[in-house]
Structure formats: C-alpha cells, structure tokens
C-alpha cells in the first residue's frame, strides 16, 4: 500500500443555507490517480476548492504530506505543492502561452528590488515544459485566445504539472473536449502519474475513471458516500452508488 498524501477528515462547508460539504472523509495516495465522481451539485468542485485554498472549510481537517494545513489563499496551496486545473480553466486569454505558464511564478533577473522579467528564460523553459508533456500548441508565444479548447486544457495541465507540484487537481479536464483531444489529455494525465505526481481527478465519464484512476470516491449531496479501488469495482457499481440505489 502506498503512503497517503492527503487525508480529509470531517470536512463541512455551507454557503448560506446550502450545505455543500457534510462530514466528508477521503484520502488520496502518493503516485496515484484518484477520482471523485458524483452528480451535478454533489460538492465535488467545492471539496477540491477547499484543498486548493479557494474556500476554507467551516470545520474539519485537511492533512497534506503529514501536516495539518489550512490554506488561506490559492497562493499558499501552490506554495505547498498543490496545483489546480479549474473547471473554468483559469487562463488569461490575452496573455501568451508562456506568460500563462509562468503566471505569478515569473522568472526575474537583476539586483535586489530592481528585478526585470527574464522573458527569454521563461520562453525557453516554456518550450521545454510543453515538449516534455507532448502538448500540442502552435507556439508558446501565441496568445491563449487563439488556442482550441483542447490546447487550452493542455496548457492549464502543463502549468499544473510544472513547478515540482506534489498534487495536481483537475476538475473535469475533458468535459468540453472531442474524442481525440480527450485521448491526448488522458495521455497527459497518465504521464503525470508516471512522473510521480499524485492526481485528483473529477470526472463524469465513468469509462474514463475506470481507465485512469486507481481509487475512486463517490459523492452524493455533499457527502462522500463510498470509496473503491477501481480494480475491485465496476462502472455499474459506481453508478448505483452515485444514484443511491446501492448503499455504501
């Protein structure tokens, strides 16, 4: 059994009257792809936003890499090694690919307070990041506005994979993609695991979850109702866990 990278215990979060998370317990292991499935509004994105510092839970505990953490901003989570590819992508369309890859991680050169951007260095490293993950983008100098949905997704994943992140969180990374683009992104996700990143994947595509994930958690109306090893379950069982036809 591999060691646990993240452990979530008794997490609660309400938005006004909506109890988005209720006593959520789950965990994910180092070097694995862990999936979260569940219907629309089940609380998957909310859980993920607690992990990456966007939301703060009302109560409960998140242990990351052996330490209890409480991130007050995405910046802190990124600093700890948690990178996120959000459901709505979070790229700046008017900036170039390399500017997006290095957003708020810019390389600079100079002395003391007189720091200027190392534009050349960032471009070069961006080329390396993109080619290391076999990402198909026209050029790192192209503005993101000109990229297709799949290419944007690849850039977002590429950014998450860079900067020696321990955990890469992806919220429905293939939701808007065609068959070929989906296949490419899945290849990317596998290569992240091969490179030693833990991946937390949210997906509505059960076949994809069965193909990629090592572990799957099922959420239903704010609760994490079941956890299974993918090797020991079937798409049919997952579906019945999601709908509640099968009690955990």
């Amino acid at each position: 059994m591999t060691s646990e990278l993240v452990t979530v215990r008794g997490l609660n979060l309400s938005f006004g009257n909506v109890r988005a998370l209720r006593d959520v317990d789950m965990s994910l292991a180092e070097g694995e792809i862990t999936a979260i499935v569940g219907d629309n509004g089940a609380g998957k994105s909310t859980l993920v936003r607690c992990l990456c510092g966007v939301h703060r839970a009302d109560s409960g505990e998140i242990v990351f890499d052996g330490r209890t953490v409480s991130f007050s901003s995405p910046e802190e989570a990124r600093h700890a090694g948690i990178e996120t590819v959000h459901q709505n992508l979070a790229l700046v369309e008017d900036l170039t690919v390399w500017q997006n890859l290095f957003l708020n991680r810019e390389l600079t050169k100079g002395f003391g307070p007189l720091q200027v951007l190392d534009r050349k260095g960032m471009r070069r490293q961006a080329e390396e990041m993109v080619s290391a993950l076999a990402v198909n983008v026209p050029a790192v100098g192209a503005r993101v506005r000109r990229l297709s949905g799949g290419q944007r997704q690849a850039v977002a994943i590429c950014r998450a994979a860079g900067f020696s992140s321990r955990l890469v969180i992806m919220d429905e990374p293939t939701a808007a993609l065609g068959v070929q683009e989906t296949e490419r992104v899945e290849t990317l996700i596998r290569s992240l695991r091969e490179d030693g990143h833990a991946v937390l994947l949210i997906s509505h595509n059960f076949d994809q979850v069965m193909r990629l994930a090592d572990q799957v958690w099922v959420m239903r109306s704010g609760r994490c109702v079941a956890g299974r090893r993918t090797a020991e379950t079937s798409a049919a069982e997952i579906v019945s866990l999601i709908t509640g036809a099968l009690a955990a």
Binding site: N88, T108, T187
Partner: protein
Amino acid sequence: MTAATRQATANQAPDTPASPGWKRFLPESGRWAEWAAPTGLVALVIVFTALNPGFLGYGNVQAMLAASAILIILSVGQTFTVATGGIDLSVASTMTFSAIMFGVGFGAGWHIALCCLLAVASGLAFGALQGAIIGYGRITDFIVTLGGLSMASGLALVVSDGQPQTVVDRFMLRLSTGSIGPVGYMVLAALVIAVLAHVLLFHTRFGTHVLAAGGSAEAATATGIDVRRIKLAVYTLSGTLAGMAAILLVARIGAAEPAANTQFLLNAVAAVVLGGVALAGGRATIAGPVFGALLLTALTNGLTSLGVSQYYQPVAVGAVVVLAAFVSRYQK
C-alpha cells in the same frame, strides 16, 4: 516521458509553418488597433502640412511637443488603470488638486523641491485612497473615481479659496522653457516616464499581473495574484503621475490655479482609446497612448493654426475618438 508520448509528439507536427522573419514586424491580426494612433498621427501631419506648410516648422513642432507633455503623463497613468479593466475619471482633478498643494507650499515659502514633493505626495495619497476603496471596498472603478473627480476639484477650491497662487521661480521657468534641441525638458520628462512605464508594464512581474488582473480577475486570483493590491497599485500610480503632471502644469501656467481642466480628462481617456488599449482590460501598450496624446495635440494645434475656432476643437477630438473606436471595431 514515455516512448508512447514521444511518438505522439512526433505525429503532432506543428500546424503553423515558421513565418518568414519580416512577418514578425507586422502586427498580429487583431492588433491593428494598436497602430491606429501612429497611422492617424502621420495622416494628420500630412494633411495639416499640406494646408499649412508652417505646421512642421521648428517652432511649431517645439510648441506641439511642449503642449503634449502633460497629456502624455496623464495618459500613461490612465493606461494602467484601463489595463486592469478600470478607468480613472479623477486624473485631471487630482492634477488640479496637486497643483494647488504645490501653490500652498510655495505660498508658505517652501523650497521648490519640497513643493514638487508635496504635489507628487498629494497625487499619490489621493490615488491610493481611491485605489483602496476600489480594491478593498469592492466598489466600481467608475463610481469611485467619479466621486474622486468631484472631491479633488472641490478640495482644490477649498484649499485655495478659489484664488490662484502665482509661482515665479527660476527652476520652474527653466523647466517650462529649457530644451535640448527642439525637445523641451517637459517633453523629455514625459518621455522618460513613458519609457519607465513601458519597462514596468512589460518587463516586471507587476506589469504582467496588471494585464492578468485586467484580462481575467478570476484566473489571476486562482494563480494567487492579489487583484485588490493590483487595483490599489494602479490607482496610486495614476495619482502619482497626476501629481507629477501638476508640476509641469504649474511651470507652464506660472501659477497654481483651481481650474477644472476637464479637457485633460477627456483627452487622457481619448489618448488611451486611440492608443488601442482595450477598455475591457487585459491588453495595453504604452507607445499607443503616447502616440494618441501626440495625435490629439497635433489635432488641436493644427486646427488652431488653420484659424478654426477653439469652440470646435472638443467637437473634433470627440469625433476622432469615436472614429478610432469604430475603425478598430470594424477591423475585428
């Protein structure tokens, strides 16, 4: 990286052919708006020179450059606020207020350097106050700076009691009349500020974060950029530059006057729009608005030299701005 993914890379040959070297010098499609101002400036110069051969004379060029200095500085400040998707409607009033504070220092017999410092500090403080309300108070830029416009011009009247303060000083006189060739010290100051602003926008982390915050506040926040701080910073910068412009204004007029200076606000926004800066934020250049400011100054000067009544000039400025916006939209 696995052999499989490497294979995938090989199969995905880049679909854009390498463009020939000279193509890099042409604007990428959709960026023509950034060329509207320089193109328009050249066109205006040709037209006015044809109508009045004296237009490009040494003396007139010198006068035009001198007249553009204040507008260039205000437009540069405005560019940063517009780049974040905001707008600073208070620039001209902040300048007036700073000029009055300059006069207060001068009237009290302060050293001229201290008067300059007071003017800049006043602009900085007023800009920072607005930036803090916009960023941390989460009130729309438009409303806060509209209120700021009214407050700053009101404060200028209150502090000065509506009276101008004459400023006679050797340093200020040299600032307004001295020059290197046809380039006066005031224009020189404006150009130095523009170059520094260009470096700030394109060669520092701050500049990238300004464009990111304007392009998508959500995306910027997700990478940990503090958009509130960016707002605070750009309005502080705009106020500071308005304070610097105030020094030039006092030097030019020879007095600190509580005048409204509305035309400067309109022209500063117009220069930014002419310069191809997206009002929605996220895209900006410094060169564009600088050319925009030069264009507007050339327009005013050319009309005056042709004997067109001053009353028509705001009409012409307004028409040019709307035309520029129309052209850049049509080209998309």
